[in-house]
Every structure is written in C-alpha cells, then in structure tokens.
C-alpha cells in the first residue's frame, strides 16, 4: 500500500536518496540573545534563559518571540506593571493562549520574574530598533 501519488513522491524522494537529512529550522540561536552591560539585565538574561527561552525563544504555544518585532511592538508600549502582572500571575490571551504563572516555576520570586521580563523587553526593543519597525 502507498499513497496514490507515491510514485511521484519517490521521484522527488530520490533527491535525498537514503541519506540522513537534517533541516535547520530553528528560530533562535544563543547569539540572538544579546547581552547587556547592565548587571541587572544580565541577571535577568540568566533567569530568562533558564525559565522563559524554552517557549519564547521559539514561539511555542504562541509565546511572543522577542527577536520578532511584529510580536512585540504592541507589547513594549504597554505599562510595564501589566507585563509584570501577567508574568507573575499568569495570563489567558484573547485567543485563549496561556502564559503560565511565573513561567511555570513556582520557585521564582516576584523580583526574579520582573528581572526576566525586563530582559525580554530589552531584547524586544533591541530587535524592534534593528528591524526598523
């Protein structure tokens, strides 16, 4: 058994001819997470990498990606307290996407969550400026 168009598939498939093909589709590389000379932001970066990057680095579950200005240009103009509150308490978006409270790590205190948010805003603003919109 095969798909009705498997012969067509096989023609296209012969190009890859039984070799392992690994296609890079990653959105983010570590170098994309720019560093800051500010100690507080660097601490926020460490927290963000440990607790937020797993989803926000790749847009998993609709998490807004700070390296994509279109995801953040409408968020960076919000009051910072709103962003802090959403990150600390969790948030259900208009389309029912979900941001878990404290990124799912109950051991983070409020100040640590705020530091991670500050770094994400720094990162988002960096890419908004770089991408020119």
């Amino acid at each position: 058994m095969s798909f009705g168009f498997s012969s067509k598939i096989s023609a296209a498939f012969s190009v890859v001819a039984f070799t392992v093909v690994i296609v890079t589709e990653a959105l983010a590389e570590k170098a994309d997470y720019v560093q800051s000379g500010n100690d507080a932001l660097q601490q926020g970066r460490d927290l963000w990498l440990e607790n937020c990057e797993g989803c926000h680095g790749y847009g998993i579950a609709d998490a807004p990606v700070p390296m994509q200005s279109s995801d953040w240009k409408y968020r960076v103009i919000k009051e910072k307290e709103v962003l802090y509150r959403h990150a600390i308490e969790g948030f259900i978006g208009e389309d029912y996407s979900m941001m878990p409270a404290r990124g799912g790590n109950d051991e983070l205190n409020d100040e640590q969550v705020k530091a991670a948010v500050d770094y994400m805003l720094f990162l988002a603003n960096f890419y908004i400026k770089r991408q020119g919109n």
Binding site: S2, F3, A12, T19, V20, G54, A61, M98, P100
Partner: protein
C-alpha cells in the same frame, strides 16, 4: 420561435456539460501528474496535526478549564467526567487514523507521539531512526529531523518533530507519575516527538 429558444437553451446546456467534463478530465490528468516532495508532505501533515491540537488546547481546554473554570481536564477523563488532555486527544487521533488507513489500499502512513522518557513503555521509540530523531529534536531545540529507513522490506521517509511541554499540567503529570523515568522536566522542555512515517517507492 419558442421551440427555437428551447433548442438553443438545450444545446447550450449540452455544450456546458461537455466543456465541464473535458475540463474535469484535464484537471484529473494534471492531478495525476502532480508531484509533491515527501518532506513537504510530512511538514504539511504535521502542520495540520499541530494546529488541530493547538486549537483544542486553547479553545477547549484553556477556555473551559483555565478561564471559565467549568470543567477540568484529566488523564482519567472518563472516571472524572473531564476533558481529555491535549496529548491524549492527539494520541486518539493517531490511533483512529491507523485503524482507518488499514481499510484504504492507497493510504499508508502513520504518525505517533513518542518519547525517550515515556510513562507508557509502548510509546518508546522502537526503530533506530525514531531513537536518533527523538534524541536530535531534544538536543536541538527548534529543529526537525528527517531520515529514511527500511522496515519489513518497505522504504520509508521518517520525520520527527519536537513535542514541547507548554503547560504546568504537562510537566507536573510527567514528573510526578509513578512510572516516569524522568522527573525534572520544566515548561519549554522537549518531552518527546511526533514521528511521521510515509512509505516511498525505490
């Protein structure tokens, strides 16, 4: 005059029908000659699966469980009169597709949700390609894995896509389950992968 009009109308209808049949024949021939890369096909299948699961997660589970708080979602959904978990819905779809495909001569593909750290051992990888793919997507966040394998004399294109824990319940259930081989998952970790296998001709 009325008779002539009637004949004209009838001839127009016949002409339209003939044209439609001819066009359909041409389209049919075009379809049979159409090609699609097996990678594009696997990616498209995964896109549909992932989108459906995402919609279920957001519009059903998140809405009713998290926002409106009118029902819960549980692994033991029958006993607890609860919603099935998104991963369970995905698995049930996979099982139904496999059952339906058995009855279709020209459809033979499979998709499964597997893990290197399965709670249910049946969901562990079995082939070398599955093992390598699951390891690769776990270690290379954001990347997919594509390879080929020959099983039972049939050549297959096999694609593996990361499956990431995105909700506290995914992580806590796996970490706390008595049968889990891994207890330190956190949100955003790759917990397994979707394996899509498509037969291809030599």
């Amino acid at each position: 005059m009325k008779n002539m009009k009637h004949k004209l109308k009838r001839n127009l209808m016949i002409g339209t029908a003939v044209t439609t049949i001819a066009a359909a024949t041409v389209v049919s021939a075009q379809v049979s000659d159409a090609t699609v890369s097996v990678k594009a096909m696997a990616d498209a299948l995964h896109l549909v699966m992932d989108s459906d699961r995402s919609v279920y997660t957001k519009k059903i589970v998140n809405r009713l469980v998290k926002k409106e708080k009118v029902i819960k979602a549980s692994e033991h959904f029958e006993d607890e009169k609860a919603l099935v978990l998104p991963a369970q819905m995905f698995r049930f779809g996979s099982e139904l597709a496999a059952k339906r495909a058995e009855k279709l001569d020209d459809v033979n593909f499979s998709y499964t949700l597997q893990s290197l750290w399965p709670i249910n051992k049946q969901n562990a990888p079995k082939t070398e390609a599955e093992k390598a793919g699951l390891k690769y997507v776990a270690e290379n966040k954001g990347k997919n894995y594509y390879t080929t394998e020959k099983l039972g004399g049939v050549n297959y294109f096999t694609a593996v896509y990361a499956d990431t824990g995105v909700a506290p319940v995914c992580v806590s259930c796996h970490n706390e389950h008595p049968d889990t081989p891994k207890k330190d998952f956190k949100i955003g970790d790759v917990m397994g992968g979707v394996v899509i296998r498509i037969p291809v001709e030599d």
